[in-house]
Symmetry: C2
Subunit: 176 residues, 2 copies
DNA sequence: CTGTATCCCAGCGGATACTG
DNA sequence: CAGTATCCGCTGGGATACAG
């Protein structure tokens, strides 16, 4: 069937159910950064905002939400607070992305590219990301460790052995 | 400052504000696929589910939410409905990802990799994605059109010329 | 099997006012 | 500048019951 070439290979389509919240890394990731405000704050982190009111204003959210979300993101280890001082001013804290936060870069770029491609108005993409070194535009891609670019239908999904074992156990338990 | 190497280059950190909802492709994308249920349904589309109750059950959401979200995703062009029939059964509709939906693959893989890396429990990642051709694990990366892998701090963000012009106009208008 | 309708709750997020 | 506190509306999403 034609639609088969549009899905991952593997046994996932045959399974009975799925503990979505607990056992899917996408779901877990969304529990941390799945809100609009979290994504906008991380975006501003990439764009170079560090101070509370800059982050809030440029992310387009209220200070109340910004404070709450930043506290969560600091707890989750995506931002850290660093003391800084401007000449003649008292010491304040700034919010800096950690490696954990910076590692979301491909996710944000993917979403941006997708939005650029499918949701732009006549003016075209609002922001262009380019490689500072060579000036070429950025795009997110999926590759394997061997370096091949991998389309969705060239991917296989495998349940990890331990999980599969646990899943079997659970099955027989619920059968018994 | 050390933190400078952790941000994009460009003028975005200097701007006054930002019409986040209207002019950011990340925000626009999130308006379409930013909900938990939308992401889980798309994930199941990748995993090979097509039928309504499979999608709902495996996504871990109620049928009510599944119906509502699928209608929105069909309207937004990420899924399409296709008639199918099993031998001896009446014709039904199945939900198939469109190119628009499949193009979100890098975003989902990015989130999954990030979750695998930072949010896995002791059992390790629940699902492993591999390249069907060579068996190597998948990872999402950001590259430029010239093929260089680009880290976050090697990227530059540029406001598109038209937008910049409009932004200037708006500034002087609000000043006047 | 593929949904729809209704009720309900929790959380996100805006607005506003207030504090160190 | 960097938040906190309060109030309130909207929506996501679960549960349950019903329908073609």
């Amino acid at each position: 069937m034609a639609t088969d070439s549009m899905t991952l290979k593997g046994s996932l389509a045959d399974r009975d159910s799925w503990d979505a919240t607990d056992e899917c890394s996408i779901a877990r990731a969304l529990d941390v950064v799945g809100t609009h405000s979290a994504m906008m704050l991380i975006r501003e982190g990439y764009y170079g905002s560090h101070r509370f009111d800059d982050l809030a204003r440029r992310a387009g959210i209220t200070e109340a939400i910004a404070a709450k979300r930043l506290r969560e993101l600091v707890d989750a280890g995506l931002f850290c607070k660093r003391p800084y001082r401007e000449p003649g001013q008292r010491t304040r804290d700034e919010y800096v992305l950690t490696e954990r936060g910076r590692d979301l870069f491909p996710a944000l770029v993917s979403l941006m590219s997708w939005g650029d491609r499918y949701l732009s108005d006549r003016q075209g993409p609002p922001i262009q990301l380019i490689h500072s070194g060579c000036g070429a535009p950025l795009q997110a891609s999926v590759r394997c460790a061997a370096g091949h670019e991998v389309a969705m239908y060239e991917a296989t999904a495998e349940i990890s052995p331990q999980r599969r074992a646990r899943s079997e156990t659970r099955k027989s338990l619920s059968r018994g």
